[in-house]
Symmetry: C2
Subunit: 337 residues, 2 copies
């Protein structure tokens, strides 16, 4: 076991797009697990768009990360020392914390993982928070019916890829939006969406061609120009699942949104949600999704970056749409693959 | 019976705020009721904000009024001739059509009124479409719970006055927004809202003072600057009942709306509705509201303008917020009061 814990701290609050200098990479002493705690050696760290909100310092649904703090993040790892009766050295678990190679966490916040059932990294993606996000957004807000037209932005991303595949399974026509030809090809050829549009091209005309009867459900992950193209094409009783607006998270001044006159005329439902309010749906989601992931009926893709020192650059790339699939940082050796 | 039917026709589509020259007042021959029809002598004509959409010619949830057509409107009147077995001369009924003194309409579209049960004009307001609108918006979208903070714009108007009184009956703290001290005084002193803010004054600070714990439900009738003041003060899980945005109906270019990033962070629900989708709720609303109106537990106010020739000016005044209470045009004598 090394004697140090490598960490990424918030050094400066980003102004607009985060810069490498907003982060500090330091070596801290290994944390000491207290009674009931576990020292977890991190293997995989999840990088997710919500982190941009945490480091901004603005009031939101969760406490912001303070300057000098380790940046928040979900970690899969292996138990290095245990002071909790439920875990022993060598166990694999989900529930480590933060952009760091080791964390001491309460055993009751950890979930044991069986690497034989599914690759451990899936606990951060398709079988974790992003997958549940897609499920909850569709189920509680989108409620797509067979034959309806569903548009999903960031369609190759961790949430969008699941949202679209689940909507396909409901019998919808599903049109993705993604950045670039490679991602679009993946979305149609691998994920099985009916079409995928490149938002770097003229999106309005492409949406008209792909959705000649308009759009019934929009799973919104992106905002900005993509939202401005989709919104006026929503049908009467259209639903807009407000999951995220990553393209606007770095705006210093908020962009105006769409005129809500159309929300009246078309009886739109525009509704936001945060997956942490829906933890109770996790067992139901996993019972449905895990067998489909194992059988290959639902597909996923991971974009794994090696080493915690690369986390800041990978995170900046995520905000720029450079990742391709669920973005994960490999913190240390994975003995299971 | 006169020999002519006085009508207001759409002469020109308004560009921005309607002008008197957009309307033509003509004398047409009395219509002949066909088999199964009734000739109704109009007594009261309802003027409502939705009419602005109809005469604009834009695609919407209802067919636009064509140039040269009688402008759409709901009318209460008295049967002048009947060719329908269910009605006889002298009956009072709701279901006449348009900005005109007489209309020939199918008997099956008419509802007989008992003037002893409630003043006939209430079928156009508190016990008609506007009342049902308030009820449906609160029930299906707002779902206010006791103790929640409800803000209602156009609070002295036909819909807002009912919405606020119904929310009070649910145990909410209800804050109205209206134009001018007279309307605000009426909203608090007569309708019993907890507070009422004059949107002609600095609304943001007034909202902060009246709603120090934020806003849970916003019943939106106005849009524009009022919406811009209310939206950022919505609480987590806030609901925005998108009923109307009268202040923007004359805009030639749509105004931008609020950034929807807040809809994600705060899990807002922003939802539009059109009362005609909810006709099935009418009996339930009337069963609840009619006794309360009769007992005086729910109050209403009518702004009655005399004579069809004054309809265009009254409608323009409605769009400018000049009416005070449910706006009605008296088309002819009311023998019952």
């Amino acid at each position: 076991m090394p004697e140090t814990n490598r960490q990424v701290l918030l050094q400066r609050r980003p102004n607009g797009m985060p810069a490498p200098e907003d982060f500090a990479i330091v070596d801290a002493p290994l944390p000491e697990p207290g009674e009931g705690q576990v020292l977890l050696r991190g293997i995989y760290l999840s990088l997710d768009p919500y982190m941009r909100g945490r480091i901004s310092g603005q009031r939101s649904y969760a406490k912001p990360t303070e300057l000098g703090d380790v940046i928040e993040g979900r970690v899969v790892g292996q138990v290095a020392r245990s002071r909790h009766y439920g875990f022993k050295e060598g166990d694999y678990a989900f529930g480590g914390y933060g952009w760091q190679t080791y964390s001491a966490v309460d055993g009751r916040g950890l979930t044991k993982l069986d690497p034989a059932a599914a690759p451990m990294s899936t606990a951060l993606g398709i079988l974790g928070m992003p997958g549940l996000t897609a499920y909850v957004g569709l189920k509680t807000i989108g409620q797509p019916k067979a034959g309806e037209i569903v548009v999903v932005s960031a369609a190759s991303g961790a949430v969008g890829a699941v949202a679209g595949q689940l909507a396909k399974r409901e019998g919808c026509r599903v049109v993705g939006i993604a950045g670039g030809a490679d991602k679009c090809r993946y979305v149609t050829d691998e994920l099985g969406f009916d079409a995928c549009l490149d938002h770097r091209r003229e999106l309005g005309a492409a949406l008209d061609a792909a959705c000649p009867k308009g759009i019934d459900v929009y799973f919104e992950n992106v905002g900005g120009a993509v939202q401005r193209a989709v919104y006026p094409r929503l049908n009467d009783f259209g639903r807009m699942i407000m999951c995220g607006m990553i393209s606007e998270y770095n705006d210093v001044e908020p962009q105006p949104g769409p005129s809500l006159v159309a929300a009246v005329r078309k009886r739109l439902r525009i509704q936001g949600f945060i997956v942490s309010d829906h933890a109770a749906s996790r067992p139901e989601y996993l019972a449905m999704a895990a067998p489909l992931v194992r059988s290959g009926a639902i597909k996923y893709r991971e974009d794994i970056v090696d080493g915690i020192d690369n986390a800041p650059a990978a995170f900046i790339g995520l905000l720029q749409g450079k990742n391709f699939g669920k973005l994960i940082v490999k913190l240390g050796a994975d003995p299971t693959r």
